[in-house]
Symmetry: C2
Subunit: 268 residues, 2 copies
C-alpha cells in the first residue's frame, strides 16, 4: 500500500490536491509552452536563495513578455509546506502566461545524488544544439529533453550542449566549468542560463583563489587533462569523471571545495 497522505500543490495562492494541478490542453499558451519555471531547494524549512530564483523568474517572464501574477511567493510556499508538513523538498514554480496567468508550486522529495557521483565524478556526453533564448528559463525544453534522453541511453548522467561554433555552453540542467591551473573557465552570461548556483560557484572561485575566465571552451579542448565539473541547484558542484564513454582525469578535491562552499552559503 502507498501512503494515504494527500499531496498538495499551490495554484494561484490556493492549496489544492496535487492531482488537480493540471492545465487544459485546448489553451493556446499550453499548446505553445508559453511558461516559465524555477526549481528550488527547501532545506530545514528554508528556501535556498529564494530572492535569486524569483529575480530570475521575473527576468525570464519579462524576456518573453509573460505577465507574472503578483504573488507573495514565500507565503504561498509556506502554505504548501504547512499543508504537507514539508521540511525539505525540491520545489517547482511554474507559471503559464494564459489570459489570466496561472502559477503553480509543486514539490517532490529533495533531489539528491549518490556519494559516488561526488567521489568518482559523473559521466557526460556531448550534444550539438543551442537553447532558444539561453538566458531565459522557459518550458521550451525539447532540446534539453532529447539531449538528456541521448545521454541516458548512453549511460551518462548529463549532456553538455555544443553550439554551432563547437563551444561547450552548458548542460541540459546545469552550468559547465573547466579548471585550467588556477583559472576557472565558464561560458559568458549571454550564452547560458544564469544558474543561481553558478553565482555561488563564481563567488567560491574568488574565495578559492581562481581567476574566472568567462569564455566558453571548445569541445575539442575537453579531455586534455583539465578537471571539469557542472553545477545546479540540486547538484551543487559535481565533478565529471567520464566524457563520451572515456575516463577523464578530475581533481575531485578541487571540485568538492566548491560544493562545500555552495552548500555552506545555502544556510546564509
Amino acid at each position: 500500500m502507498f501512503s494515504a497522505m494527500q499531496k498538495h500543490a499551490i495554484r494561484n495562492g490556493l492549496l489544492i490536491p496535487e492531482e488537480e494541478a493540471v492545465m487544459p490542453i485546448t489553451v493556446r499558451e499550453v499548446q505553445q509552452n508559453f511558461s516559465v519555471y524555477e526549481a528550488l531547494r527547501l532545506v530545514d524549512g528554508h528556501v535556498v536563495h529564494l530572492d535569486d530564483h524569483i529575480r530570475r523568474l521575473e527576468a525570464s517572464a519579462s524576456m518573453i513578455g509573460l505577465r507574472l501574477p503578483s504573488a507573495p511567493w514565500q507565503d504561498w510556499i509556506d502554505l504548501l509546506c504547512k499543508g504537507d508538513g514539508l521540511d525539505e523538498a525540491t520545489l517547482r514554480i511554474l507559471v503559464y502566461g494564459t489570459a489570466e496567468p496561472v502559477a503553480f508550486i509543486t514539490w517532490q522529495p529533495l533531489l539528491s545524488y549518490p556519494d559516488e557521483y561526488y567521489e568518482k565524478g559523473i559521466a557526460v556526453t556531448l550534444y550539438n544544439g543551442e537553447r532558444f533564448l539561453p538566458t531565459c528559463k522557459t518550458s521550451n525544453l525539447l532540446l534539453s529533453c532529447l539531449a538528456l534522453n541521448d545521454a541516458h541511453a548512453k549511460g551518462a548522467f548529463e549532456a553538455l550542449l555544443v553550439d554551432r561554433s563547437g563551444l561547450v555552453t552548458e548542460g541540459t540542467r546545469s552550468n559547465f566549468y573547466l579548471i585550467d591551473g588556477k583559472r576557472l573557465y565558464t561560458a559568458p552570461d549571454e550564452m547560458v542560463l544564469s544558474g543561481v548556483t553558478r553565482i555561488s560557484v563564481l563567488r567560491a572561485a574568488r574565495v578559492l583563489g581562481y581567476e574566472v575566465v568567462m569564455e566558453a571552451v571548445p569541445a575539442s579542448r575537453l579531455g586534455e587533462g583539465h578537471s571539469m565539473f557542472i553545477s545546479s541547484t540540486s547538484m551543487a558542484a559535481m565533478p565529471i569523471g567520464r566524457l563520451e564513454g572515456r575516463e577523464v582525469p578530475c581533481d575531485i578535491e578541487a571540485v568538492l571545495a566548491f560544493t562545500r562552499l555552495v552548500r555552506r552559503w545555502e544556510r546564509e
Copy 2:
C-alpha cells in the same frame, strides 16, 4: 447565455467532456513539451488529407523518439464527430510521449478568414529565428509564439522566420512562396515543416505551369516587386499585401489560382 451543449474531446479512444482534456503539470513530459500534434480540416464530414497528416504525425514522433499509441484515428475522429454532431471543424490531434502515451483529439469551429484577406492580401512581418527540428511538428513552439505575438502587436497576420543566413524559411504556422515570373520559389524540404497544403501547392504549381525552385529566398529580395504568398491547412494559399508595414505588389489572381486548386483537391 452560452449554449448548454457539452463539448467533447477524445482521449486515447474515449469520448470525454472537453474540460477533462487536461494534463498534469507535474509530469516531466508535460513540463518539457515532449509532444507532437496535427491540425486538420473537417469539411462536409470528411477529414481533409487525413493520411498525409497521420504520416507526418508519425514522422514527427519518430524524429524525437516519441512512441505513438496504435490509434484507429479515423474511428476516433468519427466518435468525436458523432458525439458532438460535427460536420465541419478544425480538429487537433495532440500526443504526449508520457510513459503511457496520451493522445487527444479536440475541435474548434472551422478556422476561416475574411474574404478581404484573399482579395487584398495579408500583412506579414519578419522575425529572426530558426525552429528547432524544422521538419518536425512538435509542441516546442515558443519561437513561433513570440514571433506571432510580435506580428500581432504590429497589426500583422503572420511572421516570416528569417534564418541566420538571412533566408526566409517559413511562417510561424505557414509555408512561404515567392513568384518570380513563371518560377515559384520555396525553401527546400529540410529547412521547413513539410506542410500538407504545401504538397498541394507544389502540385498546383505544375498544373499552373510554374517551375518550382526549392530555394529559400533572401529576406533582402522581398519587396522587389515579386508576388508572395503563404499556405497552411486553414488558409490554403493566402496572398501577402503588406511587408513590415509597407504595401507590396501582389498578383492576387495568380495566388487565388493556387487556393482554388488546393480547395478543389480537398474533396478528392
